[in-house]
C-alpha cells in the first residue's frame, strides 16, 4: 500500500478517524499485555475510546487550547488521552513517570496543565504531595484504581472508567459534536508539548504542531517503508520526543501496531514474545544490550566463548566490507552464512530481533564499537539525528549507506546548513514552534527562520551530516587542545565494567575522568575472584577494582590521539542518578553539576594527590540521611603521557 500524500494535510485525530473507517477492527492498533495475555485494540475501537476520552474531558470543562498532562508509563490510556484531547482541540503534555514530585510540579506549572492523567496510586500520591503548588490543575484522572479506595471521597480525583462513561454520554447526547470539533482541527494547531532534554538548563516545553508530527512520520515511513501491521514495542517514555515520534506520529501514519509491555521490567521478555519489526532506542539501550550479550558470553563455557569470538570476528570483517561498499569475497560469505545459522540468528532470537527489519539509534552519539558489534551480528542498526525542537529526527542512514561517523542524510523537504560558527541549522515542516511561554529562549532558538540545533557539525560532500558534539560542550584544554568529552565518554562506556563516565578538561591542564563502575558486572567480577564487598561505595574503592578499571582506561587511551588521552581517573563512590539531578531524565550527564557536587574529587583529579577523603551522604527512601567517610583513590593513568610506560603500574597504585 502506498502512502497517501493527503495525510500531510491532516491532524493526528483526523488520520485516526481515517484508519478507523478504512480498517475497522480488522487490524490491531494497540496491544497490551494484561493478566498474562496480549489483548488487542482494533483501529475502530481505538478511535471510539479516544473519542470518549476527549468528550469526557470536554464534559469536565476542557476548552480548546487547554493542556492535559499525562503521567504514566506506556499504557493504551496514554494513546486514548493523547488522540482524544487533540481531537477536541486540547494540547497533550507528557511528563516522565519517573519524575519526583518537585519535577512534576515544575512541569505542570510550566505548561499550565488543567487536567492530569495519572497511572496509579504512586503517581496520584506524588500529585497530592505537591497539590498546593499546582492550583491550576482542576482534576486528576487515574487509570488503575488499586489502592485508591481510601481516596474516593476526594473530589479532585476521578477514575478513567468514569471519564470514559462521562464521555460516552456526552458523545451520545450531542451527535456530531465530536466530528465537528475534530474536523475543525488545523495542521498548524499545537498538538503536543514535549520537554527539551535539559542538559544545560531546566527542561523547557517545546510546542509541536500536527504538521510537525505528521510530516516527520510521513517522511520517515516513506523513506524506510514501514508497513501497516508491522509490530512496534513501545517501552521508552512517551514523554520523550523519540517515542512520541515513533509510537504516535509514525505509528498513525504508517498504521503499525503499537505494543505496550506488561510492566517496565518485563519489556525484554515482552519484546521476545512480540518480535518487533522495528526498534527505535537511544544509545544507552543499545549499549546495555551489547553489555548484556558480552556478560552472558563471558559467563558461558570456554568452547562457546571461543565460538562466539570467532563468529564475531567473521561478522566484523563482513560488516566492515559491506559498510565500506566493497564486495565480500565468497569464502568469507560462506563463513558468514555458517555463523548466521549457528550464531547470529540465535543471538537475535535471544534479543527478540528475529523479525527485525529496521533498527535505529538516536538521541546521543553511539560509540562506533557498539555500532560495529550489532552489524557484525547481522542487525541493521542505523543512526538518526534530531532533537525535540525539530520534531524528532530529520536525518538518518539509508539502507546500504551506513557510516558509523555520520548521522545520515536529511529526508525530503528538510534543509540543513552549517552556520559560520560551525553550528548545524535546520529548516522544514517538522521544525517546531519553539518554547511555550519562553519568548526569550524561542527567539534565541531561531536564526532567521532556521532552527539552531546547538550542535557543532559539518556536511560531507555526499550529503551525510557529521555531528561533533554540543557546540557548548566542545572543550579546549589549557594547552589549547580541542576535544569532545562525549566522544571519550562513549569510548569508556563501551567497556562493560563502566556504567557512566564524566570527562573533564575544559580550561584545565589535561583530560581527566570520573567513572561509575557497573555494579552488576564489576560485582560479578569481584565475586568470581572471591573479593568481598559490602556496598557500591566499598566495591568502587577496592584496589583490584581500581586496577581493573585502570586497564580499561588504558585500552581506551590506546585508541585516542596522545593529546586526547585521559591522565587521571577516579571511581565515583555513588551511581549517578536522575533522582539526584546528576543525569537528565533521558540519561544524559550534567557535567557541571557533577563537578560541583563532587568538588573535592574533581579538585583532586588536578592537584596530583593520590587520594582524597570525602564525606558521602546518602538519602534513603524513608527520608533518613546517612553520612559515610571514605577515602577515594585518584589513579594516574600509565601511558597517558608520551613518556609513560603503557604497562607499568600506575603511580598511585600503592595501597
Amino acid at each position: 500500500m502506498s502512502l497517501d500524500p493527503a495525510l500531510l494535510g491532516l491532524t493526528l485525530p483526523q488520520i485516526l478517524a481515517r484508519r478507523a473507517r478504512e480498517w475497522g477492527d480488522g487490524r490491531a492498533a494497540l496491544r497490551e499485555k494484561d493478566l498474562g495475555i496480549w489483548r488487542e485494540t482494533g483501529w475502530a475501537r481505538f478511535e471510539q475510546l479516544a473519542r470518549w476520552t476527549g468528550m469526557g474531558f470536554r464534559a469536565l470543562g476542557l476548552a480548546p487550547g487547554e493542556k492535559v498532562a499525562v503521567l504514566a508509563d506506556n499504557i493504551p490510556e496514554w494513546f486514548y488521552t493523547e488522540l482524544g484531547v487533540q481531537a477536541v482541540g486540547g494540547i497533550v503534555v507528557g511528563v516522565y513517570a519517573s519524575s519526583v514530585p518537585r519535577e512534576i510540579a515544575y512541569g505542570l506549572a510550566a505548561t499550565d496543565a488543567v487536567y492530569v492523567v495519572a497511572e496509579d496510586q504512586e503517581q496520584v500520591d506524588k500529585l497530592l504531595e505537591v497539590r498546593a503548588e499546582i492550583p491550576g490543575v482542576r482534576r486528576v484522572v487515574f487509570e488503575d484504581p488499586r489502592g485508591l479506595a481510601g481516596y474516593r471521597s476526594d473530589p479532585w480525583l476521578l477514575g478513567f472508567e468514569e471519564l470514559l462513561e462521562l464521555g460516552r454520554r456526552e458523545d451520545e447526547g450531542q451527535p456530531g459534536a465530536f466530528e465537528r470539533l475534530r474536523d475543525a482541527g488545523r495542521p498548524d494547531d499545537v498538538a503536543l508539548f514535549c520537554f527539551s532534554s535539559g542538559t544545560t538548563d531546566l527542561p523547557k516545553p517545546v510546542m509541536l504542531t500536527h504538521r510537525n508530527l505528521v510530516t516527520m512520520g510521513y517522511r520517515f515511513t516513506e523513506t524506510e517503508g514501514f508497513r501497516p501491521g508491522d509490530d512496534y514495542l513501545s517501552f521508552l517514555p512517551l514523554a520523550w520526543m523519540g517515542e512520541q515520534m515513533m509510537a504516535v506520529a509514525t505509528g498513525l501514519v504508517a498504521g503499525f501496531t503499537v505494543n505496550c509491555p506488561e510492566a517496565l521490567e518485563t519489556a525484554e521478555h515482552d519484546r521476545r514474545e512480540i518480535g518487533p519489526h522495528l526498534m527505535f532506542s537511544p544509545p544507552r539501550v543499545w549499549e546495555s544490550y551489547a553489555r548484556h550479550i558480552r556478560v552472558k558470553v563471558d559467563d558461558s563455557t570456554p568452547l562457546k566463548r571461543g565460538f562466539f569470538r570467532l563468529g564475531l570476528a567473521v561478522g566484523h570483517r563482513v560488516a566492515d566490507r559491506r559498510l565500506r561498499g566493497e564486495a565480500v569475497p565468497w569464502p568469507l560469505r560462506l563463513l558468514e552464512l555458517f555463523f548466521r545459522v549457528t550464531l547470529y540468528r540465535l543471538v537475535q532470537d535471544r534479543l527478540g530481533f528475529l523479525r527485525l527489519r529496521k533498527a535505529y539509534t538516536a538521541g546521543a552519539a553511539l560509540g562506533p564499537d557498539v555500532f560495529r558489534f550489532f552489524h557484525a551480528l547481522g542487525i541493521n542498526l542505523k543512526q538518526g539525528y534530531g532533537q525535540t525542537e525539530s520534531g524528532g529526527i530529520f536525518c538518518f542512514h539509508r539502507d546500504g549507506d551506513i557510516r558509523f561517523d555520520t548521522v545520515g542524510v536529511p529526508y525530503a523537504g528538510t534543509e540543513v546548513r552549517i552556520s559560520g560558527e560551525g553550528e548545524v541549522l535546520v529548516r522544514g515542516a517538522s521544525v517546531g514552534k519553539g518554547y511555550y511561554r519562553r519568548e526569550d529562549a524561542t527567539a534565541a532558538l531561531f536564526d532567521d527562520g532556521w532552527l539552531r540545533t546547538g550542535d557543532a557539525g559539518y556536511l560531507e560532500p555526499d550529503g551525510h551530516l557529521v555531528i561533533i558534539d554540543r557546540l557548548a560542550d566542545v572543550m579546549r584544554t589549557g594547552a589549547g587542545v580541542v576535544f569532545s568529552p562525549q566522544f571519550i565518554e562513549n569510548k569508556l562506556k563501551f567497556s562493560h565494567f563502566v556504567r557512566e563516565a564524566v570527562v573533564f578538561g575544559d580550561g584545565l591542564p589535561f583530560i581527566a575522568a570520573l567513572v561509575n563502575i557497573d555494579p552488576e558486572t564489576v560485582g560479578k567480577w569481584a565475586e568470581d575472584r572471591k573479593l568481598t564487598y559490602t556496598t557500591y561505595a566499598d566495591l568502587s574503592q577496592k584496589a583490584p577494582v581500581g586496577r581493573l578499571l585502570l586497564e580499561e582506561v588504558e585500552r581506551v587511551n590506546a585508541g585516542l590521539k596522545p593529546e586526547h588521552r585521559i591522565r587521571r581517573v577516579a571511581l565515583l563512590y555513588k551511581l549517578l542518578d536522575a533522582d539526584d539531578e546528576e543525569l537528565t531524565r533521558t540519561g544524559k550527564v550534567r557535567r557541571k553539576l557533577v563537578a560541583e557536587r563532587y568538588e573535592p574529587l574533581f579538585r583532586a583529579l588536578y592537584d596530583g594527590s593520590p587520594e582524597v577523603p570525602v564525606k558521602a551522604r546518602y538519602q534513603y527512601q524513608d527520608g533518613r540521611v546517612a553520612e559515610v567517610e571514605l577515602n577515594v583513590t585518584i589513579w594516574t593513568v600509565g601511558g597517558a603521557t608520551a613518556e609513560g610506560e603503557g604497562n607499568g603500574l600506575p603511580a598511585a597504585a600503592r595501597r
Binding site: 494484561d34 493478566l35 498474562g36 495475555i37 488499586r146 489502592g147 479506595a149 481510601g150 506488561e262 510492566a263 521490567e265 518485563t266 521478555h269 534513603y620 527512601q621 524513608d622
Partner: protein, 257 residues
C-alpha cells in the same frame, strides 16, 4: 468468617509452648501476635493451620470447630498461610507454585485431568486467569516463568504470600512476612497486606518482629510471652502497657508509644 481461639494449650514433653492462649479475629481485621523468640508464636499458628494438635482448648472458625482437623481440611475451609521459611517448590515456576496454591478450587478428578478434557480443561483455564489476577496483585509479572529457586529472597517471600492468596482465603496467617527484608521491600509487603485486607476483605493474623510495621498495620495486637498472653488490645494500649514494656520490649517500645 471469624476465628475464635479459647484456652489453647500445647506442650512438648515438659515444656509448655502454649498455655491457655485465647485470641479472636473478626472478619476483615488485622491482628498481630508479637513476643520474644520462643514465646510460642509459630507454634500457635501451627495449631490454627493444623500442623500441631493442641492438647487442650478449642479453635473455632465460623461455624466449625476446627480443633485437631487435618491441615488440608483447614485450608479448604479458607485459612491460608505463608510460612516464615519460604516453603515453595524451588524447581517449579512462580506460575506453577501459585496454581498449586489453588488446588482446592480445581474441582476435577484424575481421569479428566489425564484426558485434559471437559472440566479439567475449563478448570485449568479458570485457574490460570485467577492466578494471573494474583500475579497482577502482587506485581510478580517479571518472574512469572522463572523457577522459584532462582529468585532473590525478597521476591520468594512475595511468592510465598501470593501462593497463600491464590487459595482465596478468608483468613490469612502470615508468619514473619517481612523477616530479612530491606526497608523498601517491607514497605511493599505492608502495602500488599493492607490491600489484601482492604480490597479483598481478608482477615489477617500477622506475626512480625518489626514493631513499627506491627503498630502501623494492626487493628489489634496480642503479646505472647512464655506461651501466655500477657497483653491484648489496640496497638497504642499494648505499647503503653507496663507489663509489656517491663516484660520484654524494654526501651524500644517506649519510643514507639
Amino acid at each position: 468468617m471469624q476465628l475464635r481461639v479459647e484456652d489453647l494449650s500445647l506442650a512438648f514433653g515438659g515444656v509448655r509452648a502454649l498455655d491457655r492462649v485465647h485470641l479472636a479475629v473478626d472478619p476483615g481485621e488485622i491482628v498481630s501476635v508479637i513476643g520474644p523468640n520462643g514465646a510460642g508464636k509459630t507454634s500457635f499458628v501451627n495449631c490454627i493451620s493444623g500442623f500441631y494438635r493442641p492438647h487442650e482448648g478449642r479453635i473455632r472458625f465460623g461455624d466449625h470447630d476446627i480443633t485437631r482437623w487435618p491441615p488440608h481440611r483447614i485450608a479448604a475451609l479458607g485459612i491460608g498461610r505463608a510460612f516464615q521459611n519460604v516453603e515453595l517448590f524451588g524447581g517449579l515456576t512462580v506460575l506453577e507454585n501459585l496454581t498449586l496454591g489453588r488446588h482446592r478450587h480445581l474441582g476435577y478428578g484424575l481421569l479428566s485431568a489425564l484426558a485434559y478434557y471437559g472440566p479439567a480443561r475449563r478448570g485449568e483455564a479458570r485457574a490460570r486467569r485467577d492466578v494471573e489476577a494474583v500475579i497482577d496483585f502482587m506485581e510478580l509479572e517479571p518472574y512469572r516463568h522463572r523457577p522459584v529457586a532462582t529468585l532473590p529472597y525478597g521476591v520468594r517471600k512475595r511468592v510465598e504470600l501470593a501462593r497463600a492468596l491464590a487459595l482465596e482465603p478468608s483468613l490469612l496467617l502470615l508468619d514473619e512476612p517481612m523477616a530479612g527484608m530491606a526497608v523498601e521491600e517491607k514497605e511493599d509487603i505492608a502495602r500488599f497486606i493492607l490491600e489484601a485486607n482492604a480490597e479483598r476483605g481478608i482477615g489477617i493474623v500477622l506475626i512480625e518482629h518489626d514493631l513499627q510495621a506491627v503498630m502501623d498495620l494492626s487493628h489489634r495486637v496480642y503479646v505472647l510471652n512464655f506461651g501466655q498472653v500477657i497483653a491484648a488490645g489496640r496497638p497504642q494500649e499494648v505499647a503503653s502497657n507496663p507489663a509489656v514494656v517491663e516484660a520484654y520490649l524494654g526501651r524500644e517500645m517506649e519510643t514507639l508509644a
